[in-house]
């Protein structure tokens, strides 16, 4: 087929020419005609099942999301018949939806709610049987409320096609249809890796994070507790969206100020521990390159990726870096080094991590990530939950004056910041490994080959000592599965692999502000947020982890050297093989 072949169609009296293969929905958009959609997620879920996007084509009503434009088509999008059909469709969906909008955590961020509003649905004609099911709170990361589910299938398509995790699917048929894990298992017992991409895909409140907001308020109210918070790099480039700021706005200083106002006793930066991770993981990489054992070294910062490996590639657990993820390292240091310095019993310290991620909630409860019966991190809140707390506290976020993080875990380099975007961990590691191997300072800072939001990037990098590192940088687990299968077949050979489970990396994590799909069709959220990350990196005076003065200090005063005995005890971990089903 000739790609440039054009077809002429008429939409609402406007004659337009579009490329052959364009859908009527896309063609309408080109001329500024808005057609509502619900189940449709471009290139991910296109089942044309909800029928909210019907248009009149001759005598018929057809779903425009999958209808290809054909020469001579005469389409009407605004007739009585179309408006009534769309209304009926949405009313029928609403008739089996738990409508508790005012107390729903997706209130004002719900596509069904805004669709019903736009279609001027003010009363419901249909009252019938309702789906009844208990809310599934089994997972520490993700909650499922089947009574709110509208069976659009966007979560399933994301879980299966984008992530290839395949944790959920349609079960049963007809009115009995629900979405859930096979054998009707609770989510916690499934192969779900807690990435939360399903939450971002869900148009309603049927999937959401397992909230811990009230736990945090309780801890803050407790006078015996020192409540310490740390924030991941990706949070600062997205939090502002919850307060109406444009996507890609950096709000680091305001975020710190807001955390103090909420009542946290210390506000630390997880980026510090990202620098520490580079010291530990960089050293690990150099050692593995020397011995040739357990290569490729696979990054372990992403708990979704780690659980994915545990379920699907248990024979490659040894390849995962033994480094804990940065916030877990920081938690361990807060409850040891910092507790000692402050002369506080670590049992009275509560560590809270603000993360762009739902999988971190699961991770923080892993028993491997504890020391002397204390979890390294006590609670994880998503970016969305932090925004909620700021609103609940009545803080005027947008007008806050910038404040600085507390020390000793407040100073971070640009290398720590870029951990939030795909390629960032690899680049940060390369900046340090390069100089450690050379034994001197080098000008090399930017490794552009590993930047960008493409799903799989490869780079071959020659170290100053002549050693060559074949690197793969991957985001999205569907891409990771492809690469892992090639490695297992022996068709690819790498020394270092960075994987972030979420498409685009942590900036687009399952705990980040929800951007409605129409905005996503116009703005690439991944690009806007990652640009903010790299801007932040550039703005910092120090951009290499090993140059962080507080990192030097903590090795001098406490840890000794990277991969020392104490480092291993506090900062490294191990993994468990899990079932494939």
């Amino acid at each position: 087929m000739n790609k440039l072949e054009k077809v002429k169609i008429m939409i609402d009296g406007l004659e337009i020419e579009v490329e052959k293969g364009t859908t009527v929905l896309e063609a309408a958009k080109e001329v500024g005609i808005h057609i509502p959609t619900l189940c449709y997620l471009k290139n991910v879920n296109e089942p044309s099942s909800c029928r909210a996007c019907v248009v009149e084509v001759g005598p018929r009503l057809i779903a425009s999301c999958t209808l290809k434009a054909e020469d001579g088509m005469n389409i009407k999008t605004n007739t009585k018949k179309v408006r009534e059909a769309r209304k009926t469709v949405v009313e029928l969906i609403l008739s089996d939806h738990k409508r508790e909008c005012t107390s729903c955590l997706r209130n004002e961020k719900c596509e069904l709610q805004s669709l019903a509003n736009n279609l001027n649905i003010r009363e419901l004609r249909f009252e019938g049987e309702r789906t009844r099911a208990e809310i599934d709170y089994s997972s520490p990361a993700i909650v499922r409320d089947i009574e709110k589910c509208i069976l659009c299938g966007r979560c399933i398509a994301t879980c299966s096609n984008v992530q290839t995790v395949n944790a959920i699917g349609f079960i049963n048929r007809g009115f009995g249809t629900i979405v859930g894990p096979s054998f009707d298992k609770p989510l916690a017992d499934s192969v779900c890796i807690n990435c939360g991409q399903c939450i971002l895909a869900c148009p309603v409140g049927a999937l959401y994070e397992h909230e811990n907001i009230n736990d945090i308020w309780r801890e803050i109210e407790n006078p015996d507790k020192l409540v310490v918070v740390q924030t991941a790099p990706a949070v600062r480039v997205a939090l502002g969206e919850e307060f109406g700021l444009p996507i890609g706005t950096r709000v680091t200083g305001k975020m710190v100020a807001a955390l103090r106002k909420i009542g946290f006793d210390k506000v630390f930066d997880t980026d510090f521990a990202a620098d520490l991770t580079i010291m530990e993981e960089g050293t690990e990489l150099i050692k593995r390159l020397e011995t040739g054992e357990n290569l490729p070294l696979m990054t372990s910062c992403c708990p979704g990726w780690v659980k994915f490996v545990e379920h699907n590639f248990p024979n490659m657990l040894e390849n995962l870096s033994t480094c804990k993820s940065p916030h877990e390292m920081e938690g361990a240091l807060i409850k040891s080094y910092f507790a000692k310095r402050m002369n506080v019993d670590p049992k009275n310290i509560v560590v809270v991590s603000i993360m762009p991620c739902t999988a971190k909630k699961f991770e923080s409860q892993r028993e491997e990530l504890s020391n002397q019966q204390m979890q390294d991190v006590d609670y994880v809140l998503t970016t969305r939950e932090l925004a909620q707390m700021i609103k609940e506290a009545g803080i005027d976020f947008v007008n806050l004056k910038d404040e600085e993080f507390d020390n000793p875990f407040g100073e971070a380099t640009g290398a720590g910041v870029i951990f939030g975007a795909t390629g960032g961990v690899a680049e940060a590691a390369l900046r340090t490994v390069f100089e450690l191997v050379a034994g001197k300072d080098l000008d090399t800072v930017d490794f552009n080959a590993v930047r960008g939001i493409e799903g799989i990037k490869e780079a071959t990098i020659e170290l100053p000592n002549g050693a060559v590192i074949n690197t793969a940088v991957i985001n999205g687990l569907g891409n990771a599965r492809k690469v892992m299968e090639l490695i297992q077949k022996g068709e690819k050979n790498y020394q270092f692999i960075e994987v972030m489970a979420c498409p685009g990396g942590c900036i687009n994590g399952g705990g980040q502000p929800i951007v409605d799909k129409e905005t996503r069709e116009n703005i690439d959220v991944k690009i806007a947020r990652s640009k903010a990350i790299y801007d932040e990196d550039k703005s910092l005076p120090i951009r290499k982890s090993h140059k962080n003065p507080y990192i030097k200090k903590i090795y001098d005063e406490f840890l000794g050297e990277p991969n020392s005995h104490l480092s291993h005890q506090l900062l490294h971990t191990n993994y468990v093989a899990r079932e494939k089903f």
Binding site: F170, R173, P181, F183, K580
Partner: protein, 167 residues
């Protein structure tokens, strides 16, 4: 896979035989597009139901995710995820049978066998199912026991029919 181990009795052999049949089945459909449904029929034939361990093998070998298999298995009413009795009784509750008194036939069977609808008797002899239209409306009300069809039934005829299978 279910563990196969040497046992003093012969029940282990039956297991081996079933596993062989399963492997044979999978080989036949491994590269066939749309092979999942025939394979599931085969699994049900071999094990009497869709056994979870067998489905894991199917998922692995056909490279079809379990979420999809489970979706198919729960979509079609002829697939069962629970073990079935030696004989399966399907009582048609399609429109024609229903107006001709199929419900009374079903109630009588349930009372006689002391089993709830869609469950299996304690002695694993019978599974009683309410079915969608069996396509024999002219004979309404109709039941099927395994592959045998019985039509124009009244509740009184149930005892005699069950006799044949109670030997």
């Amino acid at each position: 896979m279910e563990q196969t181990q040497t046992m003093c009795c012969n029940c282990g052999n039956q297991q081996d035989e079933r596993n062989d049949k399963l492997n044979e089945l999978i080989q036949k459909y491994r590269d066939v597009k749309g092979g999942l449904i025939p394979v599931l029929h085969g699994v049900q034939e071999i094990y009497g139901y869709l056994n979870e361990d067998a489905l894991k093998v199917v998922s692995e070998e056909l490279a079809v995710p379990m979420s999809e298999i489970y979706g198919v298995a729960t979509f079609y009413s002829f697939f069962s995820l629970e073990p079935k009795g030696e004989h399966v009784i399907r009582v048609c509750l399609g429109t024609a049978c229903y107006v001709k008194g199929a419900q009374q036939v079903l109630d009588k069977l349930s009372e006689k066998l002391n089993v709830e609808v869609n469950k299996t008797t304690e002695d694993q002899k019978f599974t009683l199912e309410a079915s969608r239209c069996l396509g024999a409306c002219g004979l309404a009300p109709v039941i099927m026991i395994d592959d045998d069809v019985y039509g124009k039934l009244t509740p009184e005829m149930v005892d005699e029919i069950l006799e044949k299978y109670n030997k």
